[in-house]
């Protein structure tokens, strides 16, 4: 099995996310389902990792564990060095809100709120003043290229615009870990590519991005692609070393 270790520009900064032999097994006996088995993963600031695999291979389970939406039956999940298993439900909720942002296929914006209000919402939940939260929201909306949509409601946005707002919401405030579940699934190819440019840009600016996708062309924007099969990480690949590029003919 070939395993390619890509040395990203993220260098050896402390990991934002670590999975250590993390497993998630549902039920027991003959009906036992091994959704994820002994998964090891390290994600550092500035790294963008894509996860690919067929349906039922464990992609969503891995993302749920990484985001603290589920807990492993064995092994560890650490966010910013904190073992999620050692936290109470309340503490885990707080960590999720402050450290982790989610991007979904169907955007999940609150329809009654404007773009700026959607993005500011998690900060306000965290006790920020409305004014300060709005300022932070406007700044990150500008960074994702949709500053002009700040006072528009989701129903008045295209799919690509809504997803940019969702990415802004995922990264507003102190959060630097972005978990994206098929973020291009509801978008056409051109708009999907634009969203990948935004995610790549966020990673280049220091965010850590973990993205589940079934589109190889979108996974190729990441620093590494991890392949899952039957709940196990079976392979990993990434770009060639720069010195190897262009010498063998890419076509």
């Amino acid at each position: 099995m070939s395993t390619h270790q890509h040395t990203s520009h993220a260098g050896q900064a402390a990991p934002i996310l670590q999975l250590r032999r993390a497993s998630r097994i549902h039920g027991d006996g003959p009906r036992q389902v091994r959704a994820l088995v002994d998964a090891d993963l390290v994600l550092r600031p500035g790294e963008f990792v894509a996860i690919m695999g067929p349906s039922g291979s464990g992609k969503s389970t891995l993302l749920h564990l990484a985001g603290g939406l589920d807990v492993p039956t064995s092994g560890q999940v650490l966010v910013d060095g904190i073992d999620l298993a050692g936290l109470t439900v309340t503490q885990r909720t707080l960590l999720r809100r402050r450290a982790i942002g989610y991007v979904f296929q169907d955007f999940n914006l609150l329809p009654a709120l404007t773009a700026a209000e959607n993005v500011a919402f998690p900060l306000e939940l965290d006790g920020w003043s409305v004014r300060r939260a709005r300022q932070a929201a406007l700044a990150v909306l500008a960074e994702t290229g949709v500053a002009e949509l700040a006072d528009r409601f989701p129903e008045d946005m295209s799919g690509g615009q809504a997803q940019r707002v969702a990415i802004a919401r995922a990264l507003v405030g102190p959060r630097r870990l972005l978990l994206a579940d098929e973020p291009t699934g509801a978008l056409d190819s051109v708009t999907g590519t634009e969203i990948l440019q935004v995610l790549r840009d966020r990673a280049d600016r220091g965010a850590a991005v973990l993205m589940v996708t079934h589109e190889a062309r979108f996974a190729a924007w990441a620093d590494r692609t991890i392949f899952l099969r039957d709940g196990r990480i079976i392979d990993e690949t990434g770009p060639s070393d720069p010195a190897e590029l262009l010498t063998g003919g890419a076509g």
């Binding site: 099995m1 070939s2 190889a216 062309r217 996974a219 190729a220 990441a222 392949f227 690949t237 990434g238």
Partner: protein
């Protein structure tokens, strides 16, 4: 890939030296089909023999400078005919991967799943490289963008095809409880033909 017609096309744009032709070819194709100077030189000699290109007189102020090549009328006609003709898939040669997997699916003792995964990882790696190259291009690099886009689509198509091969082989094994039997001679002929 026809180096011959690529050189004729470049020379229809402007007269050029062997070295400059190689440089232009690499630039215009996004450096994805690197040519060595020997390939360019040999092809130009054949084109000259066939009357499609000639050398221009050297520069008056620098007699030592290499003489640029230029198209003849016959060369222009040859190029015009090429522009008018569609490229046939039948002339593109055999695809080693197609033949390899068609055989792996029926020859005993080959771990097809492992073979497919190794290929999938390698092709995905190529896709990473191509995507990185394309991201680095300026919007004005039109030719290179188009070439890279073609490579990206081809790599993506190969990955989708690998998924289908994997599923087909897995189902065949589930149905028969063992590896698929060799295809009939007619099917095998068709497979090889499709790989051409």
């Amino acid at each position: 890939m026809s180096v011959k017609y690529a050189l004729l096309a470049l020379l229809s744009w402007r007269p050029s030296t062997t070295y400059q032709l190689r440089k232009d070819f690499d630039t215009w194709t996004g450096q994805t089909w690197p040519l060595n100077i020997g390939q360019v030189s040999t092809t130009l000699q054949r084109l000259e023999r066939d009357g499609l290109v000639v050398r221009e007189a050297g520069a008056v102020d620098d007699p030592a400078a290499p003489e640029p090549w230029r198209l003849t009328d016959q060369g222009r006609a040859e190029l015009a005919a090429w522009w008018r003709s569609p490229v046939s898939r039948a002339t593109r040669g055999r695809d080693e991967l197609v033949i390899k997997l068609a055989l792996a699916a029926v020859v005993p003792g080959v771990d097809v799943a492992a073979l497919i995964q190794r290929q999938r990882a390698a092709t995905q790696r190529t896709l990473h490289d191509l995507t990185r190259l394309r991201r680095g291009l300026d919007v004005t690099d039109l030719s290179a963008r188009l070439v890279l886009s073609n490579h990206i689509y081809a790599a993506e198509a190969e990955l989708r095809w690998l998924d289908e091969v994997e599923e087909t082989v897995t189902r065949a094994k589930l149905q028969t409880g063992k590896a698929p039997k060799p295809a009939s001679s007619t099917t095998a002929d068709n497979l090889v033909r499709s790989a051409r």
